[in-house]
Amino acid sequence: MRFSSRVPHKAAVAAAAVAVLLPLSACGGGSGSSGGSSASGSGKIDGSITFQTWNLKTGYKDYFNGLIADFEKKYPGSHVKWVDQPADNYADKLSADASGGTMPDVVNVSPDLGAPLAKAGVALDLDGDPAAAKYKKEYLPGAWAGNQVPGLKGTYAFPWYLNTGPLFYNKALFKKAGLDPQKPPATYGELFSDALTISKNSHGTIATLANVPTIEDFGRYGVQIMNGKGDGFTFNDAKGVDLLTQYVKLYKAHALDPQALTATPDSAGQKFLTQAVAMNPGSALDLGHFKTQAPTLYKNIGITDQITSTGKVNMYVMGLMVNAATKQKATSIAFAHFVTDAQNQLSFAKKAAIFPSTAGTLDDPYFTKEDGTDTARVRVAAAKSLKNAVNYTPVVFSDQMKTELGNEVAKALQGKESPKAALDAAVKSCDQLLKQS
């Protein structure tokens, strides 16, 4: 359950808009072995390392203990100490460790956390180390490139798990509003008009969306988020203004939940659970959750694809960073690769309802064959959509920038500013923050 809610928001993951930025920052397919890196990671694999995950202990303790045992068996003399951090304040924890020189050897990061660490020289450049670079071809090219940072050469984390999911909707609420519960919205146009219908027919008591638009929503709507060079933001273009204008209409009509301005992803999920909101994004894991938490909702649950104008759904990416200052470089690289190799990603995916980032693994029958259950249906559909999914959130989009955007969006929704003025202001302050970083 944790996965579904953490991955999308907490991780607020941020790889470069792969499709947009990739051609410029990707290193051209070579192994990237720039040679001559003095202490390369091709030494003997033994000794003790520390491996840090982000809120995985409560759910997947046995999996990781088994994984570590396997690694230690494969490389006698090696020892892996596993630490796990809770969901909140992970960035603060990493920040303290980075400035205190206490960073573990292998660290679970999302691209937006990895980027500042890479800039600070805390993360090992995998392309620059032959021992790591040789694994590049094992991963999906987009996933590997998702851990690159504009303005820096190299790749700074092994791709780990990916996540994406469908859009859930409440058939009963659709029906009550006079809409066809078998025909959920498939385009943004339909989404907006359905939402207005639902709020009108429920006299403003039922909203359709519970979250204000975030940077990934702009991406999905087809807004160009950054310029080609990756040194300035462009989400205040006509399309961006159009999206925000639509949301303002929804907000006024209570089709966007009135508490949306202060909502957290958790609270938005709760709204859907209590049937106060008609639609909510989620993942396969949520299905089981609905079943136990809200049996009445589960009977009415509808599942549809993420709505995009680009044809590419949004995905969330997790990676494993190797500490540049590790004393056990060979072991750390070997372990980070071990955790993220095809076999182990597949078995983790089966346990955790996430998706592997290794090439070819998505062709496993587990991701292609339906078995008649809703869970499998969601999984197969998501795996299919991942083939061309994009992480719309730029890696350089920091928490501070998210706050700036969120505040300006809120001003527009409240009618204090025009959508155009709000987005202009957000772009201006994000550009300034980008320069300072």
């Binding site: 956390l113 508490q259 202060t262 706050t403």
Partner: protein, 330 residues
């Protein structure tokens, strides 16, 4: 230096008499001037003895509070970021504040918080103390029960009240039942701030009640009796006997709650969310410090400058209260 008033200062007042020598140790009006003064330090010890006494506390405070604070002070003149060493930028951070909308919003909210919360926390706990002062059966239970919110963790309290004030929470359910209709406590900018203030007052009631209770214990009975004989009603007795008698405690409570209210963080953070409510309109100064300076991309320099401003304002507040107190004494 000392005041001749009858106002007692409770043991729980850490600030009474700060910077005023051996403290305005309040004493009953009946004591003749020039009599022995409580609290005068005694002599006869080795020169090193006081420092041995103070050593543990002094070391801890210097190493873990003051030293980090001094480095914060230094950082406030740099553009240091979480993972990047800073350059000296002089007063640039402070001038930036003047043009930072968020700073002014934070200042407004922190000040507003103080203006609303302080009077409530000065008056309500006093009334509560009067209510539990009479030793009627079961009063011990009530006193302890009223103190429960103080001992409960703020995170727990935040969770509880968010759960109560939610659109679908208990309070709105009740409001819906009685026909008032639901109120968006957690979606409107001002209601959010007000809700957070309410929680602060709710949590502080018991704490300040205790302080007042100990002060009331020292109001000489004769005063009340005299007033009763005069035929003064309860309200008049309250205003003419109780209030003057606990005046210095009220000042103390005012000072304590003012500083705490100005530095408010948890309540607003928990109620309005990390972003400080809609469009960040509920951000307080300390929340801004936290938001600016934390994480991997935190602007430590600017956040340090904000911390310094918070510090200067609280010190100023404290001095203001103490001076006002002393002037009234004179």
């Amino acid at each position: 230096m000392t005041s001749p008033t009858a106002g007692p200062v409770p043991a729980a007042g850490p600030l009474a008499g700060t910077g005023a020598g051996p403290g305005p140790g309040p004493r009953p009006a009946s004591r003749q001037p020039g009599g022995p003064r409580p609290g005068r330090p005694a002599r006869r010890h080795l020169p090193s003895t006081p420092w041995l006494f103070a050593a543990p506390g002094l070391v801890v405070v210097c190493v873990f509070i003051l030293y980090p604070f001094v480095s914060t002070l230094v950082d406030s003149f740099t553009d240091r970021r979480a993972l990047v060493a800073g350059q000296w930028v002089g007063f640039a951070n402070f001038t930036e504040m003047l043009h930072d909308d968020m700073f002014w919003i934070g200042l407004r909210n922190s000040a507003l918080y103080m203006v609303v919360v302080v009077p409530a926390l000065v008056v309500l706990p006093l009334l509560l103390a009067l209510l539990v002062q009479k030793r009627i059966p079961g009063i011990g239970f009530f006193r302890s029960a009223f103190y429960t919110p103080v001992v409960a963790s703020i995170v727990v309290v935040g969770l509880i009240w968010v759960w109560m004030l939610d659109d679908r929470g208990l309070i709105n359910a009740v409001l819906g039942e009685v026909g008032i209709g639901r109120i968006g406590f957690l979606s409107d900018q001002w209601l959010l701030l007000l809700s957070a203030m309410f929680v602060t007052v709710w949590k502080g009631l018991g704490y300040y009640m205790i302080i007042y209770l100990s002060a009331l214990a020292n109001v000489p009975r004769e005063l009340h009796e005299a007033a009763s004989v005069d035929g003064a009603g309860a309200v008049r007795r309250f205003l003419s006997v109780t209030v003057p008698a606990v005046r210095s405690t009220m000042v103390l409570v005012g000072a304590l709650s003012a500083v705490a209210a100005f530095k408010v963080f948890s309540e607003v953070y928990l109620m309005a969310g990390p972003k400080g409510g809609p469009a960040g309109e509920d951000t307080t100064l300390v929340m801004l410090v936290e938001r600016t300076g934390t994480g991997l991309t935190g602007r430590v320099g600017y956040a340090s400058a904000l911390s310094v401003v918070v510090f200067v304002i609280t010190v100023g507040l404290m001095l203001l209260v103490l001076r006002a107190d002393r002037r009234e004494d004179a």
